[in-house]
């Protein structure tokens, strides 16, 4: 499967009360580069930090793959 393309395609099918599979709305485009963000005051501590969208994807894919593997066996998630 092409990296991500088919899944992202599904992101465009809903807008507000539209029924599923209405393809007229604009797809949500995921940039591969982080936006220029202003600093958020995570005074009590911040969540995990990433440097790219690809890094987030890699973590998500690893977690999903591990989870599916464990669900087919009797191991720790």
């Amino acid at each position: 499967m092409q990296q991500g393309a088919k899944v992202i395609q599904g992101f465009k099918v809903l807008r507000a009360a539209d029924p599923i599979n209405i393809g007229a709305s604009k797809p949500l485009t995921l940039s591969q580069e982080p936006l220029q963000v202003r600093a958020f005051d995570n005074a009590a501590g911040g969540l995990r930090r990433f440097s790219s969208a690809a890094e987030i994807r890699a973590v998500a894919e690893k977690s999903a793959t591990n989870l599916v593997g464990v669900l087919s066996k009797d191991e720790q998630v």
């Binding site: 499967m1 990296q3 991500g4 088919k6 899944v7 992202i8 395609q9 599904g10 992101f11 099918v13 809903l14 807008r15 507000a16 599923i20 599979n21 949500l28 995921l30 940039s31 982080p34 936006l35 220029q36 963000v37 202003r38 600093a39 958020f40 005051d41 995570n42 005074a43 009590a44 501590g45 911040g46 969540l47 995990r48 930090r49 990433f50 440097s51 790219s52 969208a53 987030i56 994807r57 890699a58 973590v59 998500a60 894919e61 690893k62 977690s63 999903a64 793959t65 989870l67 599916v68 464990v70 669900l71 087919s72 066996k73 009797d74 191991e75 720790q76 998630v77």
Partner: protein, 177 residues
């Protein structure tokens, strides 16, 4: 390259992008050909996290545990993911896609998160990822699926905290009670 937090990055569009990227990566890895995602509902989740955070001092002074608990409860309540996960892989919880994604996202967001502890005057990094048993995971997903922000935010925050401290024992306050 500048690093950014996966949530509360400082820009709601970046947060949206991060969550979408995570969902996309997860669903891709479990071989889903498409995902119906209500992006309006997802934007609502992120707006809630900014403007209606369920902690009196706001997200700025909320711990990472409170941040992911707020995300989990808001995400599950909004149900932005409409497509169930593959039944051959997820069995009876295939229809709990929002709870599963919210939990996995939260666990990954806590892995490497920083706690700025004022009382101990240091920053504590959660170096180790939370792990639980398959049995516990199944029960937890069912429980999270039924959670509501107003009732379960605090409890879920404490649950994430307890799980994180189990795998990061140095991060915990000294148990005394």
């Amino acid at each position: 390259m500048n690093k950014f937090n996966i949530l509360y990055s400082g820009d709601q569009r970046q947060d949206l992008q991060n969550v979408c990227e995570y969902i996309d990566g997860f669903c891709h890895a479990v071989s889903m050909p498409y995902v119906d995602l209500n992006t309006i509902a997802l934007m609502g989740v992120l707006t809630t996290l900014q403007q209606d955070f369920p902690y009196q001092h706001g997200p700025q002074k909320a711990s990472p545990f409170k941040k992911v608990a707020a995300f989990t409860t808001a995400f599950v309540a909004a149900k932005p993911i409409l497509t169930p996960l593959p039944e051959d892989k997820f069995g009876l919880v295939a229809g709990c896609q929002n709870a599963i994604l919210a939990y996995e996202f939260s666990i990954d967001a806590l892995h490497g998160a920083e706690i700025n502890c004022q009382k101990r005057k240091k920053i504590i990094v959660l170096e180790n990822r939370i792990k639980i048993s398959k049995h516990y995971w199944m029960d937890l997903i069912k429980a999270i699926s039924a959670c509501a922000p107003v009732y379960h935010f605090e409890l879920l925050s404490l649950l994430y905290e307890a799980l994180a401290y189990r795998w990061n024992t140095d991060a915990s306050y000294t148990p005394t009670i």
